[in-house]
Amino acid sequence: MLLNSNKKQEAYRRMLRIRRFEEEGTLLYKAGKIPGAFHASIGQEAAIVGACLALRDNDMMTGTHRSHGHPIGKGADLNALMAELMGKATGICKGRGGSMHLADNSVGIVGESAIVGGGIPLATGCGLSAKVRRTDQIALCFFGDGAVNQGTFHESLNMASLWKLPVIYLCENNGYALTTSVERSHGQPSIAKRADAYGMPGVTVDGQDVSAVYAATSIAAERARDGDGPTLIEARTYRFDEHQVGLFTPGTPYRAVEEIELNKTSRDPLVLFRSRLLSEGFDEPELGAIETEVAEAVQNAIRFAESSAYPDPEELYEYLFSQPILSPASSSAKNS
């Protein structure tokens, strides 16, 4: 399935929203306005957006510690995401989640797990739930190459295949689990090939090509909705920044400077897609308008976040339970 003209524009818009959000976020992080850790998705935008655009609005999604791109890719509003990064009360998670957990349920993201591989059973459970509830929803599960070596990957893919659950397992293979390369940690470096072991299709796509990711995910989505079960997609992508912004890595560099530069200059998904759009008849003013709109949206999000209040420490216990049980024990615990 190919991206139609409207979806191409939307793909460019969403990829650019991720890129600009991450670029501005990196600056804000370095300026001390975003606390904690900051894991940017720069370089991986096509893998995220191509997959998200193949979903319907009410489909479900799980993500990872590199969590900013997933909600933006699925169409989330930027204001509450930026406010969350700054730890504000208006944040999407009310200041309880932060950079590694930008889950926006309003666009179907049920969780962003900073436990590597933690989201894989959750997405599988969403697929099981869709089957039990007899809806035609599907679940898209993002994870990285490192998560493939977790037991949850094996156990979950086995169950999804066994029961033909409507799940798409999408591996953003950026080549490195923190600093450990796929070559140094995978007995079978082709992640897609692992699908054979579970009796499901395994597909490798160029993760820097948004159209290719969209096409592969669309086929997987149709298969899932038709009751034919899960698909494993390995999107080969690249992380342009460090695992975490500002992270110091001692000793010999784990990836060559030339490798990073080559990817930035010849494998930038936004540059590649922009020139593709121009060659397909989109003109500069059209793309320029999207670029202006995105830059404004990101600046608006920053203004919104900066002008928002921090959460009230009096509300520390808010959201711990859906049904709090106000026993003397819990109230004395609160007082201590």
Binding site: K94, R96, S129, M159, S322, A329
Partner: protein, 331 residues
Amino acid sequence: MSAAIKSESDGSSVRMSYLEALFQAQVEELERDERVIVMGEDVAIYGGGKLVQRFDANRIWSMPISETSFTGVGVGAAISGLRPIVDLTIASFMYLASDPIINQAAKLRYMTGGQARVPIVFRCCMYYGAALAAQHSDRPYPMFMNVPGLKILCPSTPAEMKGLLKSAVRDDDPVMIFEDTKLWPIKGEVPVDTEYLVPIGKGDIKRAGDDVTIVAIGGAMRLAMDVADTLAKEGISIEVIDPRTLKPLDSEMIIESVEKTGRLVLVENAHRVANVSAEIAAVICEEAFDSLKRPIQRVCAPDVHVPFSPALEGELFPTKEKTAAAVRKLL
């Protein structure tokens, strides 16, 4: 005091075992709410066999041996519209399931700022004193008590098993139920009312008394009641409290009792370091220290693994003798 359960003659209750009550609660909740599903290993054969006959395959899921992930699958199902009962069978397997229970189920609502709702029940049964050795003889509820966001139950009678399990299924938060296998065959009157619920967070005074308070957990409740009977003949009046819910603990009930008796004995089968008894002792020291006439006594399993040989295991867990001795020490 527990609500008086009417005798079976008027038809409002039936006599059944703790294990049958566990089954009954699940049947009633599966029938009441189509979002309820049961997931676990071998559920088609053990315990849940009757469930398989009664409900279709979409409701009763027999899981492969993948405790970590099928527990996570349960959490995923819970946050997307179902109300799963995840049966982890033997309590030691809770360790395998602890990542999705702690890092996902317990934290998701908080970490998403209230966007997620996690209505899920995690069941397991505690074997001990059964010559199964250390990997099948755990009582791991104290470890989970240190996790915010979980509700933890330990019923000790058939009626409470039914009422608490039903409350757990209807609760919108993750609830863990630790069943005591020593109680499985024990029979009692269980209300037939399908709306019979025991509230989470409320303890029960199983026996009123004035001289000493005994708080007992799960299977230790029966020996505590026996000790109270025996010592009553010597004129020692013991109040026996069953917290039923270990978290959030009904500390008010225990504090009130200690304010009356001034003496506290805590009996449980978990290892003594950082167990429920330790938590209750800390609460009493903080909130009711001035009421204590004597030091708090704990009767628990020692800090050693459960051995295989009955010759060794027999000495490990609380007994009537040890509990009675702890009471006498306070008088």
